[in-house]
Symmetry: C2
Subunit: 686 residues, 2 copies
Amino acid sequence: MKKQSSLTKSATKPDLSLSGIAGQTRVRIERVSPEVDAGYDRPGRYPIKAIIGDRIPVEADIITDGHDVLAARLLYRHGNEKKWQETPLQLLLNDRWAGAFTVEKLGRYQYTIEAWVDHIASWQHEIELKVADGQRISSELLAGAVLVDGMAHRAGSASNADAHDAATLLRVAALFREGSELANNEAYQEAIQVAESEQFLVWAQLYPERQHPARYQYELNVEVDRAAAGFSTWYCLFPRSASRELGPGNVPVHGNFGDVEKLLPRIAGMGFDVLYLPPIHPIGTAHRKGKNNSVTCLPGEPGVPYGIGSAEGGHDAIHAELGTVDEFKHLITEAKNYGIEVAMDLAIQCSPDHPWAKEHPEWFKKRPDGTIQYAENPPKKYQDIYPVYFETADWQNLWLELKRVLLVWAEWGVRIVRVDNPHTKPFEFWEWVIAEVKKQHPDMLFLSEAFTKPKVMQQLAKVGFAHSYTYYTWRTTKAELEQYMTELTAGEMKHYFRPNFWPTTHDINPGVLQSGHEPQFLIRYFLAATLSANYGIYGPSFELMEHVPVPNKEEFLNSEKYEIRHWDWERTNKLTYLISLTNRIRRENPALQQTNNLTFCRIDEEHLTAYLKVTGDNRLLTVVNMDAYNRRAGVVQVPIWQLGIDADQPYTVHDLLTGNKYTWKGEWNFVELDPYIMPMHLFRIE
Amino acid sequence: MKKQSSLTKSATKPDLSLSGIAGQTRVRIERVSPEVDAGYDRPGRYPIKAIIGDRIPVEADIITDGHDVLAARLLYRHGNEKKWQETPLQLLLNDRWAGAFTVEKLGRYQYTIEAWVDHIASWQHEIELKVADGQRISSELLAGAVLVDGMAHRAGSASNADAHDAATLLRVAALFREGSELANNEAYQEAIQVAESEQFLVWAQLYPERQHPARYQYELNVEVDRAAAGFSTWYCLFPRSASRELGPGNVPVHGNFGDVEKLLPRIAGMGFDVLYLPPIHPIGTAHRKGKNNSVTCLPGEPGVPYGIGSAEGGHDAIHAELGTVDEFKHLITEAKNYGIEVAMDLAIQCSPDHPWAKEHPEWFKKRPDGTIQYAENPPKKYQDIYPVYFETADWQNLWLELKRVLLVWAEWGVRIVRVDNPHTKPFEFWEWVIAEVKKQHPDMLFLSEAFTKPKVMQQLAKVGFAHSYTYYTWRTTKAELEQYMTELTAGEMKHYFRPNFWPTTHDINPGVLQSGHEPQFLIRYFLAATLSANYGIYGPSFELMEHVPVPNKEEFLNSEKYEIRHWDWERTNKLTYLISLTNRIRRENPALQQTNNLTFCRIDEEHLTAYLKVTGDNRLLTVVNMDAYNRRAGVVQVPIWQLGIDADQPYTVHDLLTGNKYTWKGEWNFVELDPYIMPMHLFRIE
C-alpha cells in the first residue's frame, strides 16, 4: 500500500509515454478491402478504379476486446466535398464487416471507416440473455433508462432533430424506470418488450452514443471514370493510308482527315466507337527511315509518324499533308455524329528536327562530345529519334510543357489518349500529368501501350492509366488464357488494371496469325471481343487478314509505319461479318460490357474453352474452339447452381451468332465446333 | 512555337502542383515482406518477431521505367542507433529483390529499403551488348571514364576512403580515355576487359553514384526476444497443492514456496524449464467461492486464487500461507539452479476486498444505485470478482498502476508473465504496457491466455505478446491439425504469432481426454511437444492423467482452482517416461526448437499424420497414430528431393524414442503404429 501512495504522487505529473494515446478507444480496424498497395510513399495511395454509377463494396476487420457489440460506418465523399456521407457496415462473420456506397460523379472519391463500442446494442444483447435465463433485470432497466435519455437528447439536438422520436424516447426512458420498480409488473413486461424490439436497435443506430470511436488511419481513393473507361471498342488506322485513290503509276496517295471522314460509315458500321490515330504531327527529315525500317530513305518517302517534329512544329502541331487543326477538329465532330471518339497518340520522343531539340537542349542527354544521344535499345539504334531525358535538372519545365501539349489536344476536343511506351518514362511523371489533366478534364482517358514486365505494367495502371495493353496477344492456348484472365479479373489487379485486348497492333504481327488462316483470325478476334469489355483492332490490316511478317520477326512486312498503304476499303469478308455481329451483340448485352464478371466453366476438351459472363439477368455462355484446324467436341459444365436453375429443369440456350436455340438440361451439355464453319458459340441462357 | 514562349513565361513562377515531388526519382518500392498489417493507425506498425541471432530475410518489388539496371540496399539498425547499417539486395526474378540481416541485440530493430538507378552498372550492361554486337564503343568509353572519375572521387572521400582503390580507379579512367582514341587498339581492348570485369561491378557497389534514390516510406520493425521466446517447455502447478503432507483426517495441507522448491528435482527431471504459477496474491473473502465453484463457501475453504486482493494487499502482495516475498525470491533463485524460470500470472480483476476497490472506486463500473458491478458473462455471474473498467476517465492512473505492478514483479526477478484473459482488456493498453515494461526489461516475455475469436487472438500477438495459447487443445483430427498448423506456420501469422501448445490447462479438460485412456494422453502430449517449440502441461494433473469432468463440461471435477489438492508427487508412469524422453530429445535436436520449420508429409492413412522438421542438418520425421484405440499402418512419403537424397540411395531412419534403426529407400516407406505399444515414431534421418 505504500507503493500505491507513491504512485498517487507520481501521477500528478503526466507520464509522457501516455501522451497521444486514446486510452478509452477499444476498437481496431484492419485489412480494409479494396485497398491497393498501402506500400509506397503515401499510404493506401493508389486509387481503385470505378465507372460512374458503380456500387463500391467495402470490407474490413473490426475488432474489440471483450464481449461488447460494435457499430461501424462506412464514410465516403467526393473529392470536392468537405462533409462525409455515411452508411452502416454490417457484420458478416468472424469480425469481418461489409458495406457499400455508390459513386455518382466523375473524379476522386475518398472512403474510410469509423467504428465504436455500441453500448446501447451491447446493453440490449445483455438483457436478452438475462431475460432468456429467467433473471429479473430491474437494475439493468435503470441503466438502460440512462442510455435512452441520451438517445432522446440526441434525437432532439440540432443535427438530427426529430421531435417525434425525442418524445417517444423520453416515454421509453420513463417506462424503463417504472418497470424497474419491483411492484409494477405490467410496466416491467412492457419495458422488456420495448428493450428487445427491432425498433430499439433502429434508435440505437439513428442516435448512437459514438463514444471513443476508432477511425481507420487512411482515406482511401476511388477514381471514377466515364462509361468508356469500362466498355469501348477501338479501331486503329493510319490516316495517311485512308485515301481510296491511287496516284499515277498506282502509287498510293497521301490520305488526309477528309479521307478518314469518308471511312466513318464503314468503321461505325462494324460497330467501333473509338478511332485511334497514330501520331499526326510533322515528321522530321534527319535520319528519316525508309520502307521496312530501312536506314536509308529514298526521296519522297513519307517517314515514320513516330519521328515527331520538324521545322513546322512538334507535338502541338499537325502534319500539313493530313490537314489543318480545323480539319482535325472537323473530323472529331463528324466522328461524334457516328458515335465515334477520336483518340490521339502520345509518343514522348523527338526527331532531331523537333523544335525542342533547339530550344531545350537540356531536355536531351548528351554524349561526351556534346552531341545529343539518339535512342538505343542496345544493340539496336534509332538514329531518327531523340529520347527525352527525364533525369534532366530542368524536369519541371519539361513536365509543364508535356502537360501543355495534352491541354492543347484537349482543347481540340480529344478525350482519349493512347500513350506510346509509357514504361520508358518515369511513373512519377505519369502520376502527376494524368492527375493534372484530369483536374481540368475529368473525362480524359489514357491507354498505356506498355508491353513489358508485369509489375511495371501494373504500376502504370496504378498511377492513372484508365486502360492497359496486355499479354493477350501472346496467350494462345486454353491454359494460358484461363490463367491470365484469372490473374486479371480475380486478383488485386481487378481493382485498378483495366485490360484492353488487341489481337494485333501496328507494331505486332503475332506468330499465331502469321499463317493468315481465316479461322485463326476469327478465334483471336472473338476471344478478345468477348473476354474483355475493352478491345481494339488495327485496321484494316486485321480485318483484311494481313499477315506476312518481316522474316523471323513479329512485325508486318511493308508496314504502314514506314510507308503509305493503299487498302481496299470496300472489302467485306467473314471476319468483318463476325466483327459487325459481335459488336452489335456487345452493345445489346450488358454482360459483355464488363470484364471482371467472368467465370470459366469446366469443359473436358483441351482445345475448347468456355466462360460465363453474368450481369443482372443477362447471362452469356461463350464456347470457343481454340484449335483453328480441327472440329472439336466436348461436354461443358453449366454452373446451374450459380444461375438458380434446377437440375431437372430444361432451359434454352440461344446462340446469338446463328440464331439457333437448344434445349439443355442439368449441368453437363454437349457442344461441337467446326472451325471452318464457326469456331464459337455465344449462348444467351434464357 | 508561340505557345512555347508563353510556357517559358509561365514557368518563371513555380507551379504549385510540382512542389514536394522528387521528379528525378525513377524507382518505386512496393510489397515489402515481411510487413505486418500496414493498415491500422501507424503504417507498418506491428513488429515481426525474432529471436536473438536470427537472420531476417527481406524481399521487395523494386521497379523503374526503361531498361536501366537498379541497385538496392536493405537498411537496418537497432532501436538505439542513429546510423543505418546496409547490405545489398539481390534481384531474384521479375523485379523481386531479396536480402537479409542478422539481429544481434534484444529490443527493436528497424529496417527499410533504398534503391536507385545504377548508372554505372547500366553502362556496363549497355557496352556488353554493344561489344557482343561488334560495335566500336569509343564514345561510350569516354562516358564511362566520367563515371569512373566519380567512383575514384568517392573512393578517396572521407566516409569510405580507400586510397588504393582511388588510385586504381583514376588509372581505369585514364585507360578508358586512351582506349577511346581510334588509334590505340591495345588500350581499347584492355579498357573493354576492365569495363566488363566482375571487379568493375564490385567498384560500382562500393562507390555508387546513388543519384535520386527512392526510400521505402516505412521503417518496419522487428521485436527481438531472447531464446525462451522461441523454445520453452512449461509446467503449471498450484503452489498451494505442492505439499506432500496430509493433515489430520487426511485433509490436504496448504502448500508453500518451500514445498514447491522440493518439487524442482521432479520438474527439472522431466525436462521443463518454465514453472508457471497461477496467482499467488491474497485471496478475498467477499462472495468467496467453494469447492467445485459453489457460490457458498464453507468455513476454512481456501477460495479461488483469481479472486485477487484482500486487506493484506493486492497484485503487489503475496498470499501469506504461500510465503513471504523473500521466500518467493528464494524459490526463483532455487529454480534457476535447476534451469527453470518462474512465471507469474497477471489476472487484471479484483475481489471486492482488493485495496483498489476502496482507493480507486473510479476504476470500476457502477450500477445506477452506486454499487460496483461484479463480473458477468451473461447469463453467468461472478459475484466474487470486480472487473476493471478500462473505459474509466481515470485510465491513465489505472495503466500506470498496472505497469507499476509488473515492475514490482520484475524487481522480484520474474521475467515471464502469463496473462489471464487479455482479450477482455483493450489492445491499446497491452501495446503500451508491454512496450513500457520491455523498455526497462527487454528480456520480459508475456504469454497471452486468450481463447477467443481468431482475429482477436492475432491482434494480441501483434500488440506484443511473445507467446499465445492456441486452439490446439481442440484440434484432434489429422485434417484439423494439418490445417491449423499450416495457418500458424505458413501464413502471415508466422511473422508475429508464436503458438504455445497445451493439451490441457487448469481451466480446460477437453473432451478428447475425458476418457482417461492412456494412449490418448500420450498422443495429445506428443503432438504438442513435437509440433510446437513452445508447449506446456498443467501438472501433475496431466501427467497423472486426471480426467473426470464436471458433468457435460470441459472442466475438471474437484478442480484445484477451488480447493487444495493432495497429489502423489512420487508417481511415475508411461506418460512421465515419454515426457522426460521427449524433452531430452527436444533439447538435443534443434529441429524441435523451432515451429515454422514444419512440412507435412503425405501418408495414405487418415489416422496417421507425418511431419518433417528440418533445421540445418538436423532432420526429424515424426509419425503419429491419432487413433488411440487401433493399430494403423500406411506408407509415408519422405520428401527426399527436399532432403537431397537420391531415389536409389538407402538411408537410415533412427527412432529416437526406441533406439530402433531402419533402412529406407526412395520416397514411400511403410510404417505401423500400435497405440498400446507406442503410438508414434520420432525418426532422425541420418
